[in-house]
Amino acid sequence: MTQSFPVTITVNEKEYKREVEPRLLLSDFLRHELGLTGTHVGCEHGVCGACTILFDGESARSCLMFAVQANGHNMTTVEGLAKDKDNLHPLQQSFWEAHGLQCGYCTPGILMTLVPFLKQNPNPTEDEIRHALSGNLCRCTGYQHIVDAVKLAAEKMR
């Protein structure tokens, strides 16, 4: 008999109550249980960074946590960044303007990595930006336009 645990998890300021099997990954919980498919799942072993979310305000791989561990915690996913489709987060707006994405698969994870990075380092050098991006794989862009987008976002957000 499989165990299941009641959890109360806040995602993008909305509280959800669900029953979860302990082996359910947080990434799968967000996508399959809550329908928040903006969080992408790439490698599922912590290398690609596509599933990065904010866990209690800090970036983390949602594929390396179990949903049951998120009980009582606060999460932000890419869906929580923009107020609505006409009011993008300045980082999203910059990715659009600087062509910081092509297929878009890696983009949610990159955005969720960079939101806390730009908060801690509002005026980053190119080296610092590239270092911050090192935990996120993008196979389309060659990163150059992503770096440009981050520079543009840093300007907008200062």
Binding site: Q3, R23, L25, M65, Q69
Partner: protein
């Protein structure tokens, strides 16, 4: 579902966690930060039948100064060590090395205790514990014991912990006065496993002679590898390029045993270790001399 099913426990005190380890001895695995265990579970390389999650045991998450040591709870996050001001002041080697551990997203979750118990020979923290002369406190239901870092690592992914023991605290002595430090590694991409890496500490005496040296390598054998012969060569000597070259050659040719992989042959790993040792020793000595003034 990626991982195989398991029985899950999330104790909120160390006492409960120890009791659970006692009840499930041999079948339970501790879940700390999960940054190595969960990938292995997702691949089903590891299929623990019982998982004891320490993330709700708040009493294991601390970093505090006490006399001339810093005590770190085994559930302290790597990211907190990286930015801790007393660590930066008294153990700058650790502060310098932390950013080499994977990526910020991983360090936000990864714990010092998790990395040490995982005992990956390519990991940074085991090497640092050896270089710094850390002591590790293990606990089970019947008591506690202290293990020196050099006795803790017992081979590839193996430690001196008994099956019912939990690593609860790491005691890090302050670096001695007149000590220089350096941590260097070479990885194909930032945050990836390093092909070679070294932690160096050099303590000088009043006459600028080397009083004590520490040279510890990662990915250089089946655990963190200390180059004791090379350390002896340096001790008691005034440091110069020739001596540094000899120590680097001794350590990289005779004392480490890198295995080689598809990314680098063992010869190339030895070459990298040699170059890194020279650079790191020079940096450490320079910093030790700066500390003399």
């Amino acid at each position: 579902m990626k991982p195989a099913p398991f029985e899950y426990h999330a104790p909120d005190s160390l006492e409960q966690a120890l009791e659970l380890m006692h009840q499930h001895v041999g079948e339970a695995k501790i879940l700390a930060g999960g940054q190595s265990l969960v990938p292995a579970m997702n691949f089903r390389v590891v299929q623990p039948s019982v998982l004891i999650d320490l993330n709700r045991v708040a009493e294991l998450s601390y970093i505090r100064e006490e006399g001339d040591v810093i005590r770190v709870g085994s559930m302290a996050r790597e990211r907190h060590l990286e930015f801790d001001s007393s660590v930066a002041k008294h153990i700058p080697l650790l502060t310098e090395a932390m950013p080499f551990i994977a990526h910020p997203q991983i360090r936000n979750r990864g714990t010092i205790g998790g990395s040490l118990v995982n005992a990956d020979p390519a990991a940074e923290l085991p090497v640092l514990m050896l270089a710094l002369g850390a002591r590790l406190k293990a606990q089970n239901v019947s008591g506690e014991r202290w293990i020196d870092a050099q006795d803790f690592f017992a081979g590839m992914f193996t430690t001196a912990l008994e099956p019912d023991e939990i690593l609860v605290e790491i005691e890090l002595p302050f670096m001695p006065p007149r000590t220089g430090w350096s941590f260097m590694e070479v990885a194909p991409r930032a945050g990836d496993y390093a092909l070679a890496g070294v932690a160096v500490l050099a303590t000088l005496d009043e006459n600028k002679k080397c009083k004590q040296a520490k040279l510890v390598y990662l990915n250089a054998g089946d655990g963190p590898i200390e180059a004791k012969e090379a350390e002896k060569l340096l001790e008691g000597e005034t440091l110069n390029d020739k001596l540094i070259d000899s120590a680097a050659a001794l350590a990289s040719e005779k004392e480490i045993t890198p295995f080689g992989s598809i990314h680098a042959s063992s010869e190339f790993q030895r070459h990298l270790a040699n170059v890194l040792t020279k650079k790191a020793l020079k940096t450490a000595f320079q910093r030790a001399e700066d500390n003399l003034q």
